[in-house]
Symmetry: C2
Subunit: 163 residues, 2 copies
């Protein structure tokens, strides 16, 4: 089990946009350059975020992507579910209903215990991710990370940020 690499890219893009003034827009090419990743492939994931209502896309020259909501209202879980498959990682194929111990289907009204256990763990995972917003991460980065990073990025941002 492994998460798509696009998740990492999407979250980092969200965090970067969250650190900028509200309404700031960056083109897909700029976002790709800032993170050092493939532009075409990154845009594919950003489109998924637009479909999910997390980002807004602005067409035409001076266009790009920006947050559709204040970063305090965007959870990390939303970003992940927009890029990855939103359904639980564990898929119960109801193997308990097969084999020599099988009964009629109506005997399996109660959920599979194994399934329920996996679902509980999945819920805990999602709860932890729902508790963190893009604003939280941006604030922590601003607090803990080396301030020279953003300082060094300043001229590049002034060249690329649009609003």
């Amino acid at each position: 089990m492994k998460l798509s690499e696009g998740v990492e890219w999407g979250v980092h893009c969200g965090v970067l946009l969250a650190t900028l003034p509200a309404g700031s827009t960056l083109s897909g090419a700029a976002l790709a350059e800032f993170h050092g990743v493939s532009e075409s492939y990154l845009v594919k994931h950003l489109q998924a975020l637009v479909r999910a209502g997390i980002l807004e896309s602005v067409p035409g020259p001076k266009g790009g992507f920006r947050l559709a909501r204040p970063p305090e209202q965007v959870t990390v879980l939303e970003v992940i579910e927009a890029i990855e498959d939103p359904e639980p990682a564990f898929r119960c194929t109801e193997i308990r209903q097969r084999g020599p111990a099988a009964l009629e289907p109506s005997a399996y009204r109660l959920p599979c215990v194994v399934h329920a256990t996996m679902l509980r763990a999945d819920a805990a995972w999602r709860a932890a991710l729902r508790a963190q917003t893009l604003a939280d991460i941006a604030a922590t980065v601003a607090d803990r990370a080396d301030p020279r990073g953003m300082q060094q990025a300043q001229p590049w941002l002034e060249d690329n940020v649009r609003r």
Copy 2:
């Protein structure tokens, strides 16, 4: 992101073995028949459980697989980590160190905040699965499931269980 189907098979096999008297052995073919899955592929996963010290394999005729420890001492997480990749689902590629804002590597002593967030969620997931043992699940099944299931499986078990 999706879990391997072998996880479901492995956990169900562990639970079935946990419901039997201690030391009971079932052949790979029997376990496959009971759950209605491919024998060859199931055995592949059972071998991983043997390598992890969860199951013991007995060679030769009258051989098979049995639990290597009391089911109270086998957590669901162990079974999953034996079959799936035991490392966290999220892989941080340190994209924060790339692009125009990049500093020298020594500036990134503190962990990536996005990475830390994902790791916390992963830890919550694992904690939930570590809290459940095969004995817990077996007990819940015995308590909640339709008793006719095991009743109907009884003759088949007597034909296939070895010790």
